[in-house]
Symmetry: C2
Subunit: 249 residues, 2 copies
């Protein structure tokens, strides 16, 4: 089975050290990845990251966005990285060397995002709830946690060595049978949350973890563009019905 | 064929940036490598490398030595890294993903050294003449040259993923049929150089490149400990004979 090269976007979520941003950009340039998004970087001077020798193009085209959803909204596949020490992930952890086979089995195509959390805290459970898979770089017990710039380099190397990086970003037209992108999924999720709020399913105390679970569940359904449209329509209808009923009361 | 895990020593030759030393140490700790040598580091504060979170043990046990030979003298196998832009290497370049198979085919066992040159210049031809193989991290044309700390991380990852890293350094007894170590090789080389000087083979203008070639040639012979002893004995005898003759004149 041949690996389908993907159009990768690397997303750094709230990185604290501009040197790491530069180092990440350089690693992308080294391994033929082109696109970087940075979610709410702490340091406004992140563009001046000094260690980005030769990575000017990646860094120049990098986008800083305030929320994760803005960084991954148009991608149908999101892979999160984790040191694996966090509990209750409710997702199988892939070891990085096994990621290419997973992508192949899934017949992933088109855009994909690879997320890295901040140096201190990694990705939060909220961030992880957007991920279809979690990967862990197989580090040893002596020192589990990797430097951010080095982690990006190792992941980019593994993707490139296994043929999972598209040399030129493919120009894709979207089909109804394609996996729905994250933004579309999120619209369905928000509608579902409003409906569940209205029927009193979401309790104030457990609201946040329940919503995180719901988002994961929705991702796991593997909706196509067409599925998402149908499901969104059904939820809209329910919402409308509930409003009517509430108005009646 | 099973990969024989090797006892790796990573050698940084004249690194300029203490941050990179720390980053290299951390990458070793991440992937279960234990030993680091630093050849004539520019900065005397290299031990204070700041980014070495979790790599204290590697960094503490790291040795700074004045010459490359002191860093690799006791290893029978030396692999150099290069960005591959240097000409006249007179060695085949292995792409990093192909290194494990090369090690396996060679039935490499025991100690092995992996060399990294300085950030600015990489390894010199002189340094490369000590190497049995050269590896290149397969970076793309957009940005060929990698950051030193990231290069170390990627190499350590590849070695660990392919099972080429010994979990615990094996306690080896040396056999006559084992490959000769670099120090033994260098003794033979020095004797050979003295003989060649005496018989007027080495011309002042071409002396250095000729010696570099000679060292490579000697490495390529793949001498065993026993071979090296025999060859050293023969050269000593020739040297003695030449001295007698010279005394006669």
């Amino acid at each position: 089975m041949k690996m389908l090269p993907l159009d990768w976007r690397v997303v750094l979520v709230r990185p604290r050290n501009p040197l790491n941003i530069g180092a990440a950009a350089r690693a992308l340039a080294n391994f033929g990845l082109h696109e970087m998004f940075v979610v709410s970087p702490f340091d406004p001077v992140w563009r001046e990251a000094r260690s980005a020798v030769g990575a000017e193009r990646v860094l120049k085209s990098a986008q800083a966005v305030p929320t994760l959803l803005e960084a991954i909204g148009d991608t149908p596949l999101v892979v999160g990285t984790t040191a694996g020490s966090r509990r209750n992930l409710e997702r199988d952890l892939l070891s990085l060397p096994d990621l290419p086979a997973w992508l192949q089995a899934r017949k992933a195509r088109g855009r994909a995002a690879l997320l890295f959390g901040s140096e201190k805290t990694g990705l939060s459970n909220e961030h992880l709830s957007y991920c279809h898979a979690l990967v862990r770089i197989p580090t040893g017990v002596d020192c589990l946690s990797m430097n951010l710039g080095q982690a990006v380099a190792v992941c980019a190397y593994e993707l490139a060595r296994s043929g999972a990086v598209a040399v030129r970003p493919p120009q894709l037209t979207t089909h109804q049978s394609d996996p729905s992108d994250l933004q579309t999924n999120e619209h369905v999720f928000e509608r579902a949350a409003r409906v569940l709020d209205k029927v009193g399913y979401l309790k104030p105390k457990s609201r946040k973890p329940t919503l995180i679970k719901l988002r994961r569940l929705l991702l796991d359904l593997g909706l196509t563009q067409s599925d998402a449209r149908v499901l969104g329509g059904i939820l809209a209808q329910i919402e409308w019905g509930l409003r009517l009923r509430n108005d009646d009361l």
